[in-house]
Amino acid sequence: MTGSASVNVELAIYPIDIVLRAAHAFTARCFVTPRITGEGLLTVDFTPRDANDSLDDVPGEFENALLDARLRATIAAETQMIRELIVAQAFCEADLLDRRDSESDEYTDPRGIAR
């Protein structure tokens, strides 16, 4: 398709949640379609929202975004416990327990966010 672009991603290098995080930022400019195209292989297709928009720079930008997304995930995982300790210490005097959350699961939507 004219103006579209595709990038193949090795899932052994970039887990799928990393790929989707990196792709999300491109959704202002493109329609983004991830497809499994082989064992351990994902192909991400980019189609411009504006038909006149050339996507020549998108593959390179996306590959850099993958690297940054992976680095962010690594830093987040490495520092997660410290982050939680900081927040817990900051609010230790407040009762933050909301029983509805602890008594439900991810399907019940107790706060009605999806309504």
């Binding site: 999300h24 491109f26 959704t27 997304a69 830093i75 987040a76 520092t79 410290i82 706060r111 966010i113």
Partner: protein, 480 residues
Amino acid sequence: MTYRLLPFRFLRFDDARTLVVNETGEHHFLRNDDFERFVQRELPDDSDLLLDLKAKHFLFDSESLAPFELLAAKYRTKKAFLDGFTSLHIFVVSLRCEHSCHYCQVSRVSSDRTRYDMTEETATRSLDLAFRSPAPRLKIEIQGGEPLLHFDRVRQLIIEGRRRADEARREIEFVVTTNLALLDDEMLAFFHEHGVFLSTSLDGPAALHDANRPRPGNDSHSRMTTNLRRAREVLGHDRVAALMTTTRLSLQSPREIVDEYVRLGFTSMFLRPLSPYGFALRSAGTTGYAMRDFLNFYVAALDEIIDRNANGTFLIESYAQLLLTRIFTPFATGYVDLQSPAGAGIGAVVYNYDGDVYASDESRMLAEMGDTRFRLGNVHRDTYESIFGGDTLRTIVAASVAESIPGCADCAFLPWCGADPVHNYATTGDLLPHVPTSDFHEKNFFIIKHLLSLYERDADTRRIFWSWIRNEAPQAEAVA
């Protein structure tokens, strides 16, 4: 010596530099190669950069240990807007207004329809709720429509509010938001007696202001400037502040608008885009524009304001002041849209003329347009507990924690930014934003990055920005 990382986010700021921002909002610019060495734990023990990053809490080592308590104290300070709960209580005493501004967020009705006035009982019950708030300092903002069209209710709220505050030994402050056109000597004397602040509107020079803000006689600017002078004489110069709203007409006149604020002696101005509510939405075809157009206007107007300051005129751009305070100080600011979670309902609340309670003025706008999703309850039918502890407000708060919003969670600007679920809902139908296409994100990301670029540019701009943060005219010597 090896070091460990503390939580932070990063942004490829430009081709050469990466910006790192930690959980409490401290930041540092690194050359890209230094950033790679930093995250790969390859910075030498004696490097200045390692010491800088250690001092700003981006890393710790066996000598410094993890400064949890200090970081927690800083984090708590940044989130101090949560302490005390709702402090700003907005009373819509009437929807009537004698202006017919194209962009009006209030969706005014004509000035002779008294059914849109707040009753004495509704005002009393609303005050009952306001004084249930645990906030140590209450701010009562009285608006409309045009509140001076229903001055009896203004008087009641201020007298009764003051009496209750005195009895409870609580601090209280009153602000009346008015176009000033109907201000008379009796009102001024009353405001003076009770230490009331006035907040008014000024869109620019007469031709622009009157085009944006039509009223019978087409004399909005003339009345505003005349009564501004009288109000300053009676109340004091700094007791009257002004806001401007940017219409399509405004976009071509950043210099003229700044000139008008300087000419009238204001020391601050707030460059605001149109909001997607009320008449602003209905007249979007004639007054509206893309966010990119507003941002171009913002940059031009901000340049003008910085130039005026460089030439000795102290003039603050209020949105920049808010953001700079968040970026360069440890303190929280009280602006509801620059908080996570947002301040709707938990920082500010609106009591409508009919007793309905809304999480924000924007929530009330939506209700006027037929969508009551963000109505928290009614002062005549509901309790404080059901209004402020109910599912509607809990849903708004849960949807406005930027730390959990896709696109915001990884953003380096998160500690300085916020969320606006009501705006998201009004523009997309979803409480959560689609960040890549969100105009809220576009505005804040662009302005924060622009302010950082300006701050890095030269010492004069840094000196001016610090004078805005301190809210005082700049000192003679430059701040490095």
